[in-house]
Amino acid sequence: MTLSPRFSITLAVFSVLFLATIVHILVVMGIPLNVQHSAYDNIATYGPDREFNLLPDVRPQQEALPDLDPAMKHATCRFQLADGPVLFDASIPTSFWSIGLFNSAGEAVYSLNNRTAGAERLSMLVLTPAQLSILRENPPENLEDLIVIETADISGFALLRAHVPHPSRANALDQALLSATCGTIG
């Protein structure tokens, strides 16, 4: 059987387009699986896990992470829930601060700011559903005062942002971020 040239050309063009679509989809879907440095990996370079590490000030050519706001100071803490629940505690003397919880893929799991926290002090407990049911059997005294976040994501990081209203406040905010804790309960 022989096909007319026009039909063959059309078939060839369609098969190129069809294959190109598949390649396009594979490339786009494959990028997240093959990135060399995720935000989760980059944060590890600023200090140990389960501890808030102060990121250097956001300045030209010295951005610790891309797309950070130069008006803010940032601290990050990386954690693995397999090592136990994580308790975040911070008291930051500024008119605006916020904290975002991200999983290891960089997706936001939970976020709040100092108004939605309902208190001046940040006290937040992050744990897995299994850890929560264990904790419920023998609850710590201050469980009522904590913001409790259940997540199935085993590893992740938190990014704490604190607004610097004036450069003169920078040192006080550095101290507040350095004394913020991201550790074990109790």
Binding site: I22, H24, S38, G100, G106, A108
Partner: protein, 229 residues
């Protein structure tokens, strides 16, 4: 799928034009040419790969996710960095290792063009005026075309709503230029070429508009180009 049909087309192409054929094409004896078939199929695969990888590269490099909300010159990606993000923004954000502003923190809006649709140019002077949606705090930053901060004359690269001069009705005017300006001055790159590109980033913190649904009908500052050297 093409393996059985394409070879005939190839041989036909090569010979039919100059050689007189007695038999109608449909019943002509068919001889396949393995090398030519192979090169034809290879060509299809190579073209498809180039097209697929090239188009993916362009989509990712543009850094403009699909589910953007556009208001005037400003674009926001409320779903970026969440589990509902489209595959392009997932690829863009993970490749850049970007930690987005989460919905409980705020919303970032990015402008790459002025009100008349011209790409922003760091050597020009711009006026950003009007009002922002309700937010407890907002900051305005100028970056280069890739989103990186640039050196400016005063060393400062942003303005925030707490240190802003406002008109009695609450509106404001910001002058964005590399040389000092009176009033609210947003410094632009001290030494820049027009080809570096520029973005204005407006970050609204603790704002009711952090979810995409609430973004319809909000007013954002207007970016006007006042002059270029």
């Amino acid at each position: 799928m093409n393996g059985t049909t394409l070879p005939s087309q190839e041989t036909h192409f090569g010979e039919a034009d100059w050689q007189k054929q007695d038999l109608p094409r449909a019943i002509r004896p068919h001889r396949s040419h393995p090398l030519r078939t192979l090169s034809f199929l290879t060509l299809i695969v190579v073209l498809a790969s180039l097209l697929g990888i090239g188009s993916a590269y362009v989509m990712i490099e543009r850094e403009q996710p699909l589910n953007a909300v556009t208001i005037g010159s400003w674009r926001a990606y409320p779903k970026a960095g969440t589990a509902e993000a489209d595959p392009y923004s997932v690829a863009i954000y993970t490749r850049g290792a970007v930690v987005p502003l989460a919905s409980g923190e705020g919303l970032a809006l990015v402008a790459r063009e002025d009100r008349s649709g011209h790409l922003l140019d760091p050597t020009c002077i711009y006026r950003i005026s009007g009002q922002t949606p309700t937010a407890r705090l907002w900051t305005m930053t100028a970056t280069d075309g890739d989103g990186h901060l640039v050196e400016t004359r005063p060393g400062r690269v942003h303005l925030d709503s707490q240190n802003l001069l406002r008109n009695p009705d609450g509106s404001f005017e910001i002058n964005a230029a590399s040389e000092p300006h009176s009033g609210n001055w947003l410094p632009l790159a001290a030494s820049a070429n027009a080809s570096d590109g520029m973005r204005f980033v407006l970050r609204l913190y603790d704002a009711p508009v952090t979810t995409g649904a609430a973004l319809d009908g909000i007013t954002l500052p207007v970016i006007e180009r006042l002059g270029c050297p």
